[in-house]
Amino acid sequence: MSLTYTVTILHDLDPNPSPDHDLREALMAVGCSPDEGDLLASDPVFYLRVPEQDADRVEALAQQFLAGSPACRAVVHPGVTMPPRDEGQAAIVVQRRPGVMDPVSQSVIHAMSESGFVSSRCQVRTARRYRIGGIETNVPMLEGLASRLGNGIVDEWRSFSGGEEEQVPDPFREFPSHSQGRVEIPLIEASEEELVAISVDGGLSLDLAEMQAIRQHYIERGREPSEIELETIAQTWSEHCCHKTLTGAIRHGDLRYGNLLQETIFQATRQLDLPWCWSIFRDNAGVIGIDEEWGVSFKVETHNHPSALEPYGGAGTGIGGVIRDTLGTGVGARPILNTDVFCFAPADTAAEDLPTGTLHPRRLLRGVVAGVRDYGNRMGIPTANGAIHFHPGFVGNPLVFCGSVGLMRREHVDKEVHPGDLVVAVGGKTGRDGIHGATFSSRELTEDSEQDSSGAVQIGNPLEEKKVLDAMMRIRDENLCRSVTDCGAGGFSSAVGEMGEETGAEIHLDRAPLKYPGLGPTEVWISEAQERMVFAVEPSKLGRIQEILLEEEVECAVLGEFRDDGKLRLLHHDQLVGELDVKFLHGGRPSQERVSIPPEPKPLIKAEVDHLDAQQLLCTLLADGNVASKEPVIRQYDHEVQGRMTLRPLAGADRDAPMDGCALDPLRDGSHQVVVSCGLTLGMGEVDPYQMACHSVDEALRNCIASGGSLERAALLDNYAWGDVKDPAILGQIVECSRGAADAALAYGTPFISGKDSLHNTYRAGGVSRSIPPVLLVSAISITKGPLRVPGSDLKEAGSSMMLIGPEGAIPGSLMQWLHGGGGGIPAPFDGELGPRLLQQVRQWIVAGQLRSLHDLSDGGLAVAAAEMAFGGGGIGLDLDIGALGADRNRSLFGEGPHRFLAEVRDTDVERITADAEAVGIPLTCIGRSVVEPTLIIRHGLDRCIESGVGELKQIWKRSLEAIWPTS
């Protein structure tokens, strides 16, 4: 016999309460601005179901633990009932849908077991009750508020007008269970149309040629495939797992590629053949050596579609997933840095410009930042590098890139699986999370929206992943594991499939710990539930692993063992539900040659800027989200945890000026530095995808050098994000991009070590399918010896010379161009001869202490870079003259291109630097001085085209994103 209680926590004893920020934001979004005296409260609600014998413990638990602070009190009611509200207060109750992960409830159960409850017989669900007083409300408005406080994909809610008692759906109602056992799919006799229908209906994303190859395989075996076999093949052959477009054959004009990536990006790495590249393109992350003993891994992933649906959960599981890539590199690397790069539609996008069914970019941005913040911060990993880009082309499909850097010893880089090793699942329980739209066995259940939606999005639990991390580092350091990988897309099917690629495995799916009963074997096999890893363990070492996991409070289960016969056997309660030949699984996919259309140069469309003077143009650029200060985001991330940072994303006199990257001391002894940066030249993609790739590599490396890195030991990651790759024109852009990336990497001698592609980023608007703008994100990581040498981008003193380093920029591809309706033209060319020479020389100047400050020229060109350098100077101004740079004023001020920096140089060093530049052939022009007056002056000959207080410009630059995260 169980009893149900509702514990509501009222924070009414806080002498200085602040209004609930989510509620206030939601009110503003429905067009209501609350006044000072209005009540905006939120009450945490805990529904407890306890055995009768524990009933007398509930009140003490509620007061001492659930309230537990003199600032609040707990009100306990039997049943599902909340304390009455004051007269006139409206309320909204938001709670998780059944079957959706509720991490807080697990912590409450932990505390209950400490207090002597029979925790195995206790259940907890949580909710939040929002109360609104002093504001006129009505039912549609409350529903509007509720839909902003909760997300229909994971939450359910009820709203209540003044005087109405809260009645909510039973929080403990069961999640319906369904079919079990083996399901056969008739394929052998299927016609071509039927094959396509089976793929489409099952959400398998296999094309006709692939379905035919599968049918042929089963004809040879003389039987029909089972559902779980077909799902496994579909997962293994998916774009996500085997990157069939980029590793496929492509005819591109006169060029033919058998495997595009192999022959471009990988080929560059092979050609460079650097001994410090320890693991490239074969593991969950690339690994490079710091010295002989230590190395760092680096991987960047995307999580776009989940973030578009549920930004908080999607971004959180994005960062959670890439951290697991680090944990699953070799036998485990320790995560020491997170990176994040986002692309959204502009935050001021009008509601009528949103495709139906999509969330407003402002809401997406807030949700994504909150997701990265809460997951990254709880993992204790600094998030210290990244970028945020805005472009209308992301209105239906935002991009969310999450990166992770790990630290590991060389001896832990290699892993292997031996037949007879145990397959051990470690970490979170398996639920229906992330199971794609419709598997065969659950097809009929898709009618049920609860079933459907709770599966579509994964909910993360960073606490679980942190426990897994702590346990794994101990297991690794005791050398208890032979191989490790993470459960990402495809869940166990991908993880076990990859590890058993050579050996085969036998898996008992009923042994996986489940979140709730009723999962069929296929669901267990392909579930994308978070925070799970798979280990390959020598049987004699299992006992010690279990001891460590017990102390760290991490669950594990032995699912089966690896075999020596090349068969992947899947059992459920001893029934064989699937048996696959791993050779066919990993080698049976038919390859097809695709034909691409090489892009043509685009005619120049002039930007409409004639009505704007240079000062207005600068102010527009500084206020634009692409340039505006990211401080409101950066501050929400713990970018200092672990105590390794030596260059932070913000520095300067007021610690709010943007640096070009970040640096950390990996071994905490000053012996080495790890420098991380990124490059993404958004406007360039539509103009010239080859140049975009070169420019992105160049930008990442310029940022890296400006942050204290060196070309001597620098490596790159590629992240492609593209639209509909079935379109030959888009495929042509990808080919050009790959060629450009490879050429630039070779020119700089910096190998790509890992990468990831996210294709099919399309959305429907106005009845047509649209693709996002082409994006190549390049991330750079560099190792240097000794203490960090870095000037920083902030001006240091008045009276220095300001030196423009590098060639001219151009308007085509620049932010100014596309922001003002322009496009096309010929961008400033990447110069593979000049680039490396220039970066090596800049590095030498940095090491010799000859640059007082240094900033790369990127979005917004010279004018924006000059302003940003002044923002960190604590009141120092600039007096520059660009007359010598040519007649086209806007091109000199706002043009963009590779190989460009602005540097502050002491007068006594100018001669030396000028001589160096001449000796190696680097363009270098003195364009003015730093001055005592806090003013930015840029002259074009006699015309003072820009003259503005640094403080005023800084305010313009700061307030755009501050408006998205108001602090009061």
Binding site: P44, S69, V108, L463, E551
Partner: protein, 280 residues
Amino acid sequence: MADLMSKGTPRALVLRAAGTNCDRETVHALELAGAVVESIHVNALSRDPSILEGVGLVAFPGGFTFGDDVASGAVLAHIIEQRLRPQLQRFVDRGGLVIGICNGFQVLVRLGLLPGGEGRGALLWNQSGRFEDRWVYLTSGSEESPWFAPGQRYFMPVAHSEGRFEWFPDQPGQEFPTEQVAFSYCNEDQSAASYPDDPNGSHRSIAGMISADGKVLGMMPHPERFVRPEHHPSWMRIRPDGAIPLEEQLPVPLGLSIFRRAVDHLKTHQGDLVGEGGTR
């Protein structure tokens, strides 16, 4: 008492639990300060609480123990209350030093170890309503302690969302123990600060509290994140040649100085610790 020292070196314990995440840098800071440090999981300490008898200093590091579910530090405080309260009290009573940083401070306040005495404190949501990571200036409290010199200026990062200290007297009109303020937020010139230099809107701009006897310190800022000069967020501006400054060239003491002072205190006061001594 020889057991509290390893060849004259003070022993320290860094206590971690699920979700702790500043344990390793806290170990590092205490080691740099000259202690012999062991990091231990609360489950391991629960199995053998006598380990506490062999150490002179216990650190509760930062993090999000148990995800800060329910409230910051709530679950860990509950576990300690249920399993280790008497042993921890004995450790404090015999003069052991305790530091709680960020989440550790939240745990000590939740347990009532700070401020201690009459009345209670709470660490509540920042007035800004969000997590913030920024460097802040601090002025240390008015009383001598094993942890800091009075009235000194410090500079350290904070990184938290629940750091607003509020005071709840047992009786109305009860006086606030100002001598127990360990650190308060201030401007660079040590004048009174407002947001964002006071990042959370605490009562009296409190950043840290200390027990009446000076042995138990809790603070929201992170001294363990400033143990080398290049941890200073704008170290590039300090020397004209742009190189990393020496410790004595910094305008403020390292956060490390707090750990050093405590470890030095244990070295010089080793005879003052009362109790049985450990078996380890």
